[in-house]
Protein backbone atom coordinates (compact mmCIF):
# COMPACT_ATOMS: atom_id res chain seq x y z
CA UNK A 1 0.00 0.00 0.00
CA UNK A 2 1.32 3.42 -0.88
CA UNK A 3 0.02 6.86 -0.09
CA UNK A 4 -0.52 7.41 -3.80
CA UNK A 5 -2.70 4.35 -4.44
CA UNK A 6 -4.63 4.91 -1.21
CA UNK A 7 -5.46 8.41 -2.38
CA UNK A 8 -6.48 7.09 -5.80
CA UNK A 9 -9.07 4.81 -4.19
CA UNK A 10 -10.17 7.40 -1.63
CA UNK A 11 -10.63 10.09 -4.26
CA UNK A 12 -12.55 7.80 -6.61
CA UNK A 13 -15.11 7.11 -3.87
CA UNK A 14 -15.26 10.78 -2.87
CA UNK A 15 -15.84 11.92 -6.46
CA UNK A 16 -18.82 9.56 -6.55
CA UNK A 17 -20.13 11.11 -3.30
CA UNK A 18 -19.69 7.69 -1.68
CA UNK A 19 -17.44 8.25 1.34
CA UNK A 20 -15.45 5.37 2.84
CA UNK A 21 -16.60 5.12 6.49
CA UNK A 22 -14.43 2.16 7.56
CA UNK A 23 -11.97 -0.43 6.24
CA UNK A 24 -12.18 -4.22 6.59
CA UNK A 25 -9.10 -5.70 8.23
CA UNK A 26 -10.59 -9.06 9.19
CA UNK A 27 -8.08 -11.69 10.16
CA UNK A 28 -7.35 -14.09 13.00
CA UNK A 29 -5.24 -11.88 15.25
CA UNK A 30 -4.82 -14.69 17.80
CA UNK A 31 -3.85 -17.39 15.31
CA UNK A 32 -2.14 -20.15 17.35
CA UNK A 33 0.78 -20.43 14.90
CA UNK A 34 2.96 -17.52 16.07
CA UNK A 35 4.55 -17.04 12.64
CA UNK A 36 1.17 -16.95 10.93
CA UNK A 37 -0.19 -14.65 13.63
CA UNK A 38 2.73 -12.29 13.10
CA UNK A 39 2.12 -12.23 9.36
CA UNK A 40 -1.59 -11.51 9.82
CA UNK A 41 -1.13 -8.84 12.49
CA UNK A 42 1.58 -7.23 10.37
CA UNK A 43 -0.77 -7.01 7.38
CA UNK A 44 -3.50 -5.55 9.60
CA UNK A 45 -1.07 -2.95 10.93
CA UNK A 46 -0.24 -1.96 7.37
CA UNK A 47 -3.92 -1.24 6.73
CA UNK A 48 -4.14 0.69 10.03
CA UNK A 49 -1.13 2.84 9.11
CA UNK A 50 -2.75 3.71 5.79
CA UNK A 51 -6.32 4.21 7.03
CA UNK A 52 -6.28 8.00 7.10
CA UNK A 53 -4.92 8.05 3.55
CA UNK A 54 -8.01 6.00 2.61
CA UNK A 55 -10.23 8.68 4.16
CA UNK A 56 -11.28 7.12 7.47
CA UNK A 57 -9.74 6.39 10.87
CA UNK A 58 -11.67 3.14 11.40
CA UNK A 59 -10.18 -0.32 10.70
CA UNK A 60 -12.16 -3.39 11.80
CA UNK A 61 -11.25 -6.95 12.73
CA UNK A 62 -12.69 -9.71 14.84
CA UNK A 63 -10.54 -10.92 17.74
CA UNK A 64 -9.84 -14.40 16.39
CA UNK A 65 -9.73 -17.88 17.81
CA UNK A 66 -7.10 -20.42 18.77
CA UNK A 67 -8.76 -22.89 16.40
CA UNK A 68 -6.32 -23.80 13.62
CA UNK A 69 -8.99 -24.85 11.11
CA UNK A 70 -11.15 -21.74 10.97
CA UNK A 71 -11.19 -18.08 12.00
CA UNK A 72 -14.78 -18.46 13.22
CA UNK A 73 -14.91 -21.77 15.08
CA UNK A 74 -14.56 -21.90 18.86
CA UNK A 75 -11.55 -23.33 20.71
CA UNK A 76 -11.36 -24.14 24.43
CA UNK A 77 -8.33 -21.82 24.86
CA UNK A 78 -10.52 -18.87 23.82
CA UNK A 79 -12.20 -19.07 27.24
CA UNK A 80 -9.01 -19.27 29.31
CA UNK A 81 -7.22 -16.45 31.11
CA UNK A 82 -4.04 -17.24 29.15
CA UNK A 83 -5.92 -17.01 25.86
CA UNK A 84 -7.51 -13.72 26.87
CA UNK A 85 -4.12 -12.26 27.88
CA UNK A 86 -2.63 -13.21 24.50
CA UNK A 87 -5.52 -11.52 22.70
CA UNK A 88 -5.29 -8.48 24.98
CA UNK A 89 -1.58 -8.07 24.17
CA UNK A 90 -2.28 -8.13 20.41
CA UNK A 91 -5.25 -5.76 20.68
CA UNK A 92 -3.13 -3.35 22.75
CA UNK A 93 -0.49 -3.38 19.99
CA UNK A 94 -3.13 -2.70 17.34
CA UNK A 95 -4.75 0.10 19.37
CA UNK A 96 -1.36 1.77 19.85
CA UNK A 97 -0.49 1.40 16.15
CA UNK A 98 -3.81 2.99 15.34
CA UNK A 99 -3.35 5.84 17.79
CA UNK A 100 0.14 6.54 16.46
CA UNK A 101 -1.31 6.97 12.96
CA UNK A 102 -4.48 8.92 13.77
CA UNK A 103 -6.64 5.82 13.39
CA UNK A 104 -8.92 3.74 15.61
CA UNK A 105 -8.92 -0.06 15.69
CA UNK A 106 -12.49 -1.32 16.00
CA UNK A 107 -13.04 -4.70 17.62
CA UNK A 108 -15.90 -6.72 16.14
CA UNK A 109 -16.78 -9.35 18.72
CA UNK A 110 -18.17 -12.75 17.70
CA UNK A 111 -19.44 -15.47 20.00
CA UNK A 112 -16.97 -18.10 18.76
CA UNK A 113 -13.93 -15.80 19.09
CA UNK A 114 -11.83 -14.83 22.11
CA UNK A 115 -13.91 -11.69 22.68
CA UNK A 116 -17.52 -12.71 22.11
CA UNK A 117 -20.00 -11.53 24.71
CA UNK A 118 -20.93 -8.18 26.25
CA UNK A 119 -19.14 -9.06 29.55
CA UNK A 120 -15.99 -10.00 27.60
CA UNK A 121 -16.10 -6.68 25.74
CA UNK A 122 -16.63 -4.79 28.99
CA UNK A 123 -13.57 -6.50 30.46
CA UNK A 124 -11.52 -5.67 27.35
CA UNK A 125 -12.43 -1.97 27.47
CA UNK A 126 -11.81 -1.88 31.26
CA UNK A 127 -8.35 -3.43 30.83
CA UNK A 128 -7.52 -1.37 27.76
CA UNK A 129 -9.02 2.15 28.02
CA UNK A 130 -7.15 3.32 24.93
CA UNK A 131 -8.11 6.15 22.52
CA UNK A 132 -7.01 3.90 19.63
CA UNK A 133 -9.66 1.29 20.44
CA UNK A 134 -13.40 1.28 19.65
CA UNK A 135 -16.30 -1.05 18.96
CA UNK A 136 -17.96 -2.18 15.75
CA UNK A 137 -21.55 -2.92 16.70
CA UNK A 138 -23.01 -6.00 15.10
CA UNK A 139 -25.76 -7.21 17.42
CA UNK A 140 -26.09 -10.58 15.67
CA UNK A 141 -22.56 -11.55 16.75
CA UNK A 142 -23.63 -11.73 20.43
CA UNK A 143 -26.08 -14.59 19.98
CA UNK A 144 -25.50 -18.26 20.71
CA UNK A 145 -27.74 -21.15 21.65
CA UNK A 146 -28.34 -19.70 25.12
CA UNK A 147 -29.78 -16.30 24.16
CA UNK A 148 -31.10 -16.56 20.59
CA UNK A 149 -34.64 -16.88 21.96
CA UNK A 150 -34.21 -13.73 24.06
CA UNK A 151 -33.40 -11.16 21.40
CA UNK A 152 -34.77 -7.95 22.93
CA UNK A 153 -33.19 -8.40 26.36
CA UNK A 154 -29.83 -9.26 24.75
CA UNK A 155 -30.00 -6.20 22.48
CA UNK A 156 -30.79 -3.94 25.42
CA UNK A 157 -27.93 -5.42 27.46
CA UNK A 158 -25.37 -4.74 24.72
CA UNK A 159 -26.50 -1.15 24.25
CA UNK A 160 -26.75 -0.49 28.00
CA UNK A 161 -23.22 -1.82 28.52
CA UNK A 162 -21.36 -0.78 25.38
CA UNK A 163 -23.35 1.86 23.52
CA UNK A 164 -20.85 4.67 23.99
CA UNK A 165 -18.00 2.59 22.47
CA UNK A 166 -19.73 2.15 19.10
CA UNK A 167 -18.20 3.87 16.03
CA UNK A 168 -19.71 1.94 13.07
CA UNK A 169 -22.69 -0.47 12.89
CA UNK A 170 -23.51 -3.53 10.79
CA UNK A 171 -26.82 -4.81 9.46
CA UNK A 172 -27.28 -8.54 9.07
CA UNK A 173 -29.56 -11.01 10.85
CA UNK A 174 -29.55 -14.10 13.06
CA UNK A 175 -31.69 -17.16 13.69
CA UNK A 176 -31.36 -20.57 15.33
CA UNK A 177 -29.40 -22.84 12.99
CA UNK A 178 -30.66 -26.17 11.73
CA UNK A 179 -27.21 -27.08 10.40
CA UNK A 180 -24.63 -26.20 13.07
CA UNK A 181 -21.56 -26.70 10.86
CA UNK A 182 -19.47 -23.72 9.65
CA UNK A 183 -21.35 -22.22 6.70
CA UNK A 184 -20.07 -20.25 3.71
CA UNK A 185 -21.75 -19.21 0.47
CA UNK A 186 -20.32 -19.47 -3.03
CA UNK A 187 -19.56 -15.85 -3.88
CA UNK A 188 -16.36 -14.11 -4.87
CA UNK A 189 -14.62 -11.94 -2.33
CA UNK A 190 -12.80 -12.13 1.00
CA UNK A 191 -13.57 -15.10 3.27
CA UNK A 192 -15.12 -12.82 5.88
CA UNK A 193 -17.80 -11.94 3.32
CA UNK A 194 -18.72 -15.57 2.55
CA UNK A 195 -19.17 -16.63 6.20
CA UNK A 196 -22.75 -17.31 7.35
CA UNK A 197 -22.32 -18.64 10.88
CA UNK A 198 -21.02 -21.63 12.80
CA UNK A 199 -22.67 -23.37 15.72
CA UNK A 200 -26.15 -22.80 17.11
CA UNK A 201 -26.81 -19.51 15.29
CA UNK A 202 -26.98 -18.86 11.55
CA UNK A 203 -26.18 -15.38 10.22
CA UNK A 204 -28.26 -14.50 7.12
CA UNK A 205 -28.83 -11.10 5.53
CA UNK A 206 -30.94 -8.38 7.17
CA UNK A 207 -34.63 -9.22 7.28
CA UNK A 208 -34.14 -12.99 7.06
CA UNK A 209 -33.88 -13.75 10.77
CA UNK A 210 -35.24 -12.85 14.19
CA UNK A 211 -33.31 -9.68 15.08
CA UNK A 212 -35.67 -6.92 16.26
CA UNK A 213 -34.59 -4.20 13.82
CA UNK A 214 -37.05 -1.67 15.21
CA UNK A 215 -35.42 -1.93 18.61
CA UNK A 216 -31.91 -2.09 17.14
CA UNK A 217 -32.13 1.10 15.08
CA UNK A 218 -33.99 2.92 17.85
CA UNK A 219 -31.24 2.17 20.39
CA UNK A 220 -28.51 2.89 17.82
CA UNK A 221 -29.90 6.22 16.67
CA UNK A 222 -30.56 7.41 20.20
CA UNK A 223 -26.82 7.27 20.95
CA UNK A 224 -25.39 7.81 17.47
CA UNK A 225 -27.89 9.63 15.24
CA UNK A 226 -25.58 9.84 12.21
CA UNK A 227 -23.70 6.54 12.43
CA UNK A 228 -23.11 4.56 9.21
CA UNK A 229 -25.09 1.29 9.09
CA UNK A 230 -23.43 -1.23 6.78
CA UNK A 231 -25.33 -4.09 5.12
CA UNK A 232 -23.60 -7.48 4.85
CA UNK A 233 -23.96 -11.29 4.61
CA UNK A 234 -25.67 -11.35 1.26
CA UNK A 235 -24.94 -11.85 -2.41
CA UNK A 236 -25.28 -9.15 -5.01
CA UNK A 237 -28.73 -10.33 -6.17
CA UNK A 238 -30.15 -9.91 -2.65
CA UNK A 239 -28.83 -6.38 -2.12
CA UNK A 240 -31.98 -4.50 -3.26
CA UNK A 241 -34.24 -6.56 -0.96
CA UNK A 242 -31.92 -6.21 2.05
CA UNK A 243 -31.46 -2.47 1.49
CA UNK A 244 -35.21 -1.92 1.22
CA UNK A 245 -35.73 -3.86 4.45
CA UNK A 246 -33.18 -1.72 6.32
CA UNK A 247 -34.44 1.51 4.73
CA UNK A 248 -38.02 0.65 5.74
CA UNK A 249 -37.03 0.01 9.36
CA UNK A 250 -35.12 3.33 9.47
CA UNK A 251 -38.07 5.12 7.87
CA UNK A 252 -40.46 3.60 10.38
CA UNK A 253 -38.22 4.68 13.27
CA UNK A 254 -37.74 8.14 11.77
CA UNK A 255 -33.98 7.99 12.09
Amino acid sequence: MTRQNCHAVRDAFRRANLPICAISGYTNITHPDREERGRRVGALKEIIRNARDLGTPYVISETGTFNTESDWVHHARNETEEGYQEALDVIAELAQEAYDHGAVFLVENYVNNVIGSAPELLRLFAHLPHPGLGLLMDPTNYFDGTNIDDVDATLNTMFDALGDRIKIAHAKDCKRAVDTSEKHVEIEGPEANTFRGAGAVELPAAGLGVLNYDLYVKRLARLHPNIPLIIEHLDEDDVPRAKKFVDDRLLSAGV
Binding site: V9, A12, N17, I20, T27, R39, I60, P228, I230
Partner: protein, 45 residues
Protein backbone atom coordinates in the same frame (compact mmCIF):
# COMPACT_ATOMS: atom_id res chain seq x y z
CA UNK B 1 -30.23 10.43 10.20
CA UNK B 2 -28.47 7.13 9.68
CA UNK B 3 -26.74 6.65 6.30
CA UNK B 4 -26.84 3.11 4.85
CA UNK B 5 -23.79 1.53 3.26
CA UNK B 6 -22.44 -1.80 2.12
CA UNK B 7 -19.16 -3.69 2.05
CA UNK B 8 -17.44 -2.98 -1.27
CA UNK B 9 -16.28 -6.62 -1.37
CA UNK B 10 -19.71 -7.86 -2.41
CA UNK B 11 -19.00 -6.38 -5.82
CA UNK B 12 -16.11 -8.34 -7.39
CA UNK B 13 -15.26 -5.86 -10.14
CA UNK B 14 -12.73 -3.17 -11.00
CA UNK B 15 -12.82 0.01 -8.91
CA UNK B 16 -14.97 2.06 -11.29
CA UNK B 17 -17.56 -0.71 -11.66
CA UNK B 18 -17.65 -1.27 -7.89
CA UNK B 19 -18.43 2.41 -7.34
CA UNK B 20 -21.01 2.52 -10.16
CA UNK B 21 -22.85 -0.56 -8.84
CA UNK B 22 -22.93 0.68 -5.25
CA UNK B 23 -24.12 4.13 -6.33
CA UNK B 24 -26.83 2.67 -8.58
CA UNK B 25 -28.21 0.70 -5.62
CA UNK B 26 -28.67 3.91 -3.63
CA UNK B 27 -26.02 3.55 -0.95
CA UNK B 28 -24.41 6.62 0.57
CA UNK B 29 -21.29 5.14 2.19
CA UNK B 30 -19.07 2.01 2.03
CA UNK B 31 -16.98 -0.21 4.25
CA UNK B 32 -13.92 -0.73 2.09
CA UNK B 33 -12.69 -4.25 1.38
CA UNK B 34 -9.19 -4.16 -0.11
CA UNK B 35 -10.05 -6.76 -2.70
CA UNK B 36 -10.84 -5.04 -5.98
CA UNK B 37 -10.14 -6.85 -9.22
CA UNK B 38 -7.30 -4.46 -9.68
CA UNK B 39 -3.77 -4.74 -8.39
CA UNK B 40 -3.84 -1.63 -6.22
CA UNK B 41 -3.77 -3.52 -2.94
CA UNK B 42 -2.49 -6.98 -2.13
CA UNK B 43 -2.61 -7.22 1.67
CA UNK B 44 -0.97 -10.40 2.94
CA UNK B 45 -4.11 -11.80 4.55
Amino acid sequence: MIPVGIFSGYFPYDLKTVIDRIKSLGFSTVQLDLSFKISIFRPAM
